[in-house]
């Protein structure tokens, strides 16, 4: 308790508070720019942090991290362009809400869910770290493999009607993910001598194209400028009912986010997709998903910000980063002479606690800053369709370029965009593509590693408690919709 107070006083020093606010603000802007991710935001500012005190440096980076993960959702909702991959599910749901004229509500829900997830995960960091750390250590290749399979199966099979389409897209996207050097040893695959493909296809440009281009072409499908009907800026109010009605979704998504955060190699993007799909399955109105439902946004946003605090748990106690931006925290800590582990909580307790307490404060600050940004950004919609579509294309193009400063990436963006539109028109799901590209190398790597771990009998992996847990999750998750259908059929019969 003592340490928490010390941490609090450190954070409340005026300069540190400024760092929190500025970090979060810049983070939101970075995240909102398509092509720039949370990892990049933290990476770019690490050198700036060298001259700061350790506690200040970590607060700055935390603000950037949380802000960027949240910020990506603003253009996702308003323009359909995910600012970071973690906002891709929000792009689908948010854009649909905007089309219904509810942009203000979408933005408000997004901000609140993100802050809730962030605050909850920072509280978990502060009070539950030792307990949750164990998970991080025990998670190994078999568990990672199960998580990857879980994520992909949920997304591919969670389709009404033809699961074969979902599976086809999933397998095909996994194949795309193998282009380039293999993740283990680095052998070339499917590069056809093109130097640009050595590192594989570019995830961020493809995601931008896949989600935003169909939006744009959709606008071409009907005449009229849509000034009044389509792009009304709804009022930005935080409606308590929205959250109370979906309280289970909110809590569940946050927990998913925290746990995914704790698991190394799985970050906000994976959490967002997993949670969104879980929300859809558990929802009483799954058919609403994709047409603009608050539940969908809560599902993805609470989870992606829930990752932030969770990813620091194994980082601080074991030096294992729970996500890519967290890995950068590790380097920043080393530069400032901080070692993760027990030392951090004894000798450097004041820095450690100021970080953890600061994390809570940053997520609260993010709520207010976020609403401010949204109020301003919301006005983007009060413009004619022709302008909006043009701006989306221009912004998406520059975003696709910015990630790697490569025109080849822009070509990938374009191809993904056109193919994405064809897919949407023919009822092929887009989510499996995103998730397969995100999880592709983790899936392949964890499969190879698991095979090496149990060369004689791969089924031995089920002696691991965590593997059993995750496998059960996969099985339950796949069977639950079927079971539920049977139950409701029976229910209908008896009536």
């Amino acid at each position: 308790m003592n340490e928490i107070l010390i941490g609090l006083t450190t954070v409340l020093q005026p300069f540190n508070l400024v760092l929190c606010v500025v970090g979060t603000m810049v983070g939101i802007v970075f995240g909102a720019l398509p092509g720039f991710s949370a990892t990049m935001a933290v990476a770019v500012f690490i050198p700036f942090s060298y001259v700061l005190e350790p506690s200040g440096a970590l607060l700055l980076l935390s603000g950037l991290y949380c802000g960027a993960v949240y910020g990506g959702s603003i253009p996702a909702i308003l323009l359909g362009i995910p600012g970071t991959p973690a906002s891709a599910p929000t792009a689908m749901e948010g854009r649909a809400m905007v089309r219904k004229g509810e942009s203000g509500r979408a933005l408000a829900v997004c901000t609140t869910a993100s802050s809730f997830g962030g605050v909850a995960s920072s509280l978990a960091l502060l009070f539950l770290a030792p307990v949750l750390t164990v998970i991080a250590l025990r998670v190994g290749p078999p568990e990672q493999m199960m998580i990857a399979i879980f994520g992909l199966s949920v997304v591919c099979l969670l389709v009404e009607g033809n699961a074969a389409k979902g599976l086809l897209v999933g397998f095909f996207a996994l194949l795309l993910a193998t282009i380039g050097q293999d993740p283990q040893v680095g052998y070339q695959r499917f590069t056809f001598g093109n130097l640009n493909l050595y590192a594989g296809v570019s995830l961020v440009p493809i995601l931008i194209g896949l989600f935003s281009f169909p939006e744009v072409l959709g606008m071409l499908e009907s005449d009229g400028q849509g000034y009044n009907e389509v792009n009304k800026a709804g009022k930005l109010i935080v409606d308590f009912k929205d959250y109370w009605n979906n309280k289970f979704c909110l809590v569940r998504s946050t927990i998913i986010g925290i746990i995914i955060g704790i698991i190394p190699a799985a970050g906000p993007d994976i959490a967002a997709f997993l949670s969104y799909n879980q929300a859809k399955k558990a929802s009483k109105h799954p058919e609403e998903f994709g047409k603009g439902t608050v539940e969908g946004i809560i599902g993805s946003e609470a989870a992606n910000n829930g990752v932030t605090g969770g990813s620091l748990i194994p980082l601080l106690s074991l030096g294992i980063p729970g996500s890519a931006p967290a890995a950068l925290f590790l380097s920043a800590m080393y530069i400032h002479g901080l070692q993760p582990g027990s030392q951090l909580f004894t000798t450097n307790a004041d820095t450690a606690y100021s970080l953890m307490v600061g994390f809570v404060i940053i997520n609260i600050v993010m709520f207010f800053l976020g609403l401010l940004f949204c109020k301003v950004a919301n006005f983007i919609l009060v413009i004619p369709k022709s302008v909006l579509a043009t701006l989306i294309v221009i912004l998406a193009t520059v975003g696709a370029y910015a990630t790697n400063k490569s025109m080849f990436d822009v070509i990938q963006f374009y191809i993904a965009g056109v193919v994405g539109y064809i897919m949407v028109k023919n009822d092929y799901p887009l989510s499996p593509v995103a998730l397969a590209l995100l999880l592709g190398s983790m899936l392949e790597t964890s499969i190879s590693q698991t095979i090496v771990m149990y060369p004689n009998n791969i089924l031995e992996m089920f002696t691991r408690p965590y593997t059993i847990v995750f496998t059960l999750l996969v099985v339950v998750s796949l069977l639950w919709p079927v079971v539920r259908k049977q139950i409701s059929k029976k229910g209908a019969k008896t009536i």
């Binding site: 690490i46 380097s331 080393y334 993760p340």
Partner: protein, 340 residues
């Protein structure tokens, strides 16, 4: 309305960037006319200087030996150069992805690489690798470290002999983890060649990931640098079996060398900062000077040592290339014979 909005956001972004730029010692956020850092100011004879941030590509994961070394270098280079040096981890393919990126980068002086001796041999050992020893210009070589071989305590071994015996009884089942053909795995190759045993190969993205896997019981053995091991050196689940240098480490004097335990081989890794080949003479001259300054800095040397690195001082492309070529010629055949 829209323009005001954009203007507002622009102002917000620029304002914050400038606040941060003002707060930190090294500038660079105000665009192309910055060069106002206090400490450097050494005008090179060639006149070429940096006016934008520099990226250092690190082919291995954050928290690992290469990454820590790169960030320490970045910190001091930024002070002397007056612009930010940003480390970009491009991992995967056991380091080949990042090294390929370095070799293909524009040699305009704004991209550097974090290199190490083991990368010289990828061209022989991995199909399709396009870079050779000539794809990089060595600018600074500033650490040379052996590794320690670490095992999970639950294996029940505490010496190399015991490990080898265990591996003999369970061929292919004792797992050794790390990126292929790196510091994590060359000791395995030497042990396998010397004793004829076979380990299961688990491939990870870097030293940190390997250490975590061993600590968590998901992998049995790996080989690490003292700098990577520091975070978990008092972890009870880990046992140090041997060190791979010629002599015992000062910091772990009760750990015997591999040679002492019957495996007649040593492994050390030197690390360097490189430019992609094709850089102009001006750029090379600039970095020759910059690296000399950084490596001579006593604080830099101290931080390297405190982080567990064995500091050595070769700077400038002439000295470094000479060192690299000597080492390459001496080791090439042994390594190819051992690993190929």
């Amino acid at each position: 309305m829209k323009k005001r909005l954009v203007g507002l956001m622009m102002a917000a972004v620029m304002g914050s960037a400038m606040v941060l730029g003002g707060c930190s010692g090294s500038s660079g956020s105000s665009g192309s006319d910055s060069q106002d850092s206090g400490t450097s100011g050494e005008e090179e004879a060639s006149g070429w200087t940096l006016d934008q941030p520099v990226t250092i590509i690190c082919p291995y994961g954050a928290g690992g030996g290469q990454d820590i070394a790169a960030r320490l270098f970045a910190k001091y280079a930024a002070e002397y150069a007056g612009v930010n040096f940003v480390v970009d981890n491009q991992t995967g393919g056991s380091g080949t992805i990042g090294n390929t990126a370095i070799s293909m980068a524009e040699p305009d002086g704004y991209t550097l690489g974090m290199f190490c001796n083991v990368n010289l041999y990828d061209q022989f050992l991995v199909d399709g690798v396009t870079y050779t020893e000539d794809s990089f210009i060595q600018e600074a070589i500033f650490s040379q470290d052996p590794t320690v071989i670490v095992a999970n305590a639950s294996l029940g071994v505490s010496t190399m002999d015991e490990l080898v015996a265990l591996a003999e009884e369970n061929p292919g089942e004792i797992t050794w983890g790390g990126p292929e053909f790196t510091a994590q795995t060359y000791p395995r190759i030497y042990v396998e060649n010397a004793t004829g045993v076979e380990f299961g190969k688990m491939i990870f993205d870097g030293g940190n990931e390997s250490l975590v896997a061993v600590a968590g019981g998901n992998c049995d053995v790996t080989s690490l640098f003292a700098s990577e091991f520091a975070a978990m050196s008092d972890n009870e689940d880990l046992v140090v079996l041997a060190t791979t240098g010629e002599e015992r480490l000062d910091s772990m004097s009760d750990v015997p060398t591999m040679i002492e335990q019957g495996v007649d081989a040593t492994f050390t890794q030197w690390r360097s900062i490189v430019l992609p080949a094709g850089a102009s003479d001006e750029v090379i001259a600039y970095y020759d000077d910059l690296c000399a300054q950084v490596l001579a800095d006593e604080d830099f040397q101290k931080e390297m040592a405190d982080s567990g690195f064995n500091f050595v001082n070769y700077s400038g492309h002439e000295d470094c290339t000479e060192f690299m070529e000597a080492d390459f010629e001496a080791s090439k055949d042994t390594i190819i014979a051992a690993a190929g």
